[in-house]
Symmetry: none
Subunit: 222 residues, 2 copies
DNA sequence: AGTATACTTAACAATTCATTAACATAGAGG
DNA sequence: CCTCTATGTTAATGAATTGTTAAGTATACT
């Protein structure tokens, strides 16, 4: 999974420098030049982690952090501070404001990334559970479990992933290309492979639910 | 609860200075003047956190840290490094060696305590319940005890940790990668090692409970 | 040091899964 | 109603994954 990071700093140079380094590591980066914009952006971008410079004009990092913690949808986002070496006070105040960690300037990319990964790893517990109940089919990704009319049915890995994918947007028709991209990534498989997997799922769910849209693809229907 | 801290530094002045400040905060402090003594003491004292000076003669902080992480009963203890300002390398190497945080010298007691509390707080969240009763299996981490149908069964350490890990989220499928990360950290083990441990557990619990999800991993099921 | 216990690995067996080929069927459009 | 194409079905193959055993290493204990 690619984590999203929101960078907040009033200096463009730093934003660019950090963006470059973080993107190189596979993070999806968004940036803001002040606290207010950061909060607005955070609501839409829904980052996993916010990196805040402590020293910023108008609303400084600490105030921004305090504000973020007040917003219900953002209160659990990880926050990491960037502080200047001498700002002893900031470090303390930062933790009080709800920071999860801080890194001192000058920033060493490797160290920063090490810290970010440590934070994200610790936070992983809060990952979502993906559980869906649609009609008489219930699917639980974490438990790799499918219930059909409250009876457990066994699906092999590919079958499971395929059903899960189709159920992710019930009623939407997914083309064969969509399916191949999602389930097979860039492995090449023959023409009938999908059909066979579809057939196996249908067999196990009494031929309900999965419908063929000829010339287009397949969809999951209630 | 009063947390226990093991202080490790070769300079007596620092030990005294920090002891004083930490005890004032209610921590129970023990000290060691080198890495070897630290490890011996840690086994008996069972601290919640070890504070290690990076720069020490003979075995430095990083080596001590690496050694500590190798000892099963100590591998989960929090470790905080003390580094001189300029030791950029130490910071990186320290995280690699398994440190949880670091503080630069000169040490400001307030900041150190703030960091310690942050670490302990973070760690508390991830603390697991020590005693679980699921179906006919009861497991107690502290006592390292497993009851199957009310009969005590003996599991070796790896077996115990593996069962405990799987039981921590019943029904959830853990990938082999998950399992290796949790049980073996970054030791490399062969493909069949997990299977063998699983087999041993199954043998001792009559083949119930642990299910294989082929291509995905293993799960604990009632 | 010597013994017991635990851990890991190699070698092989067993199982399950994914894919394909070959053929069958369905349905749209002429 | 015929043809063409897309999809359905079945069974076989072999690839991938996991299970099992026994023996070799490592570690802990006395």
């Amino acid at each position: 999974m690619n984590y999203k990071i929101l960078l907040v700093d009033d200096e463009n140079d730093i934003l660019e420098f950090l963006s470059y380094n973080l993107e190189k590591e596979g993070f999806i980066v968004s940036t803001a030049i002040n606290g207010k914009l950061a909060i607005q952006l955070a609501k839409k971008f829904k980052p996993d982690l916010i990196i805040l410079d402590v020293m910023m004009p108008e609303m400084d990092g600490i105030n921004t952090c305090t504000e973020i913690r007040k917003i219900p949808e953002l209160e659990n986002i990880l926050i990491l501070f960037l502080t200047a070496r001498s700002e002893e006070y900031s470090e303390l105040a930062g933790f009080d404001a709800g920071a999860d960690d801080y890194v001192t300037k000058p920033i060493k990319p490797k160290l920063l990334i090490s810290r970010i990964n440590a934070l994200l790893k610790r936070n992983k517990i809060s990952e979502k559970v993906n559980n869906m109940l649609i009609g008489d089919i219930q699917i639980d990704k974490e438990k790799h479990l499918v219930l059909y009319k409250n009876e457990e049915i066994h699906l092999a890995r590919k079958e499971f992933n395929l059903l899960y994918f189709l159920m992710s947007v019930p009623g939407k028709v997914f083309t064969r290309e969509d399916i191949i991209t999602e389930i097979w990534k860039d492995t090449f498989v023959g023409d009938r492979t999908i059909d066979v997997h579809i057939r196996k799922i249908r067999e196990k769910t009494n031929n309900h639910h999965i419908k063929t849209v000829k010339g287009v693809g397949y969809k999951f229907d209630i």
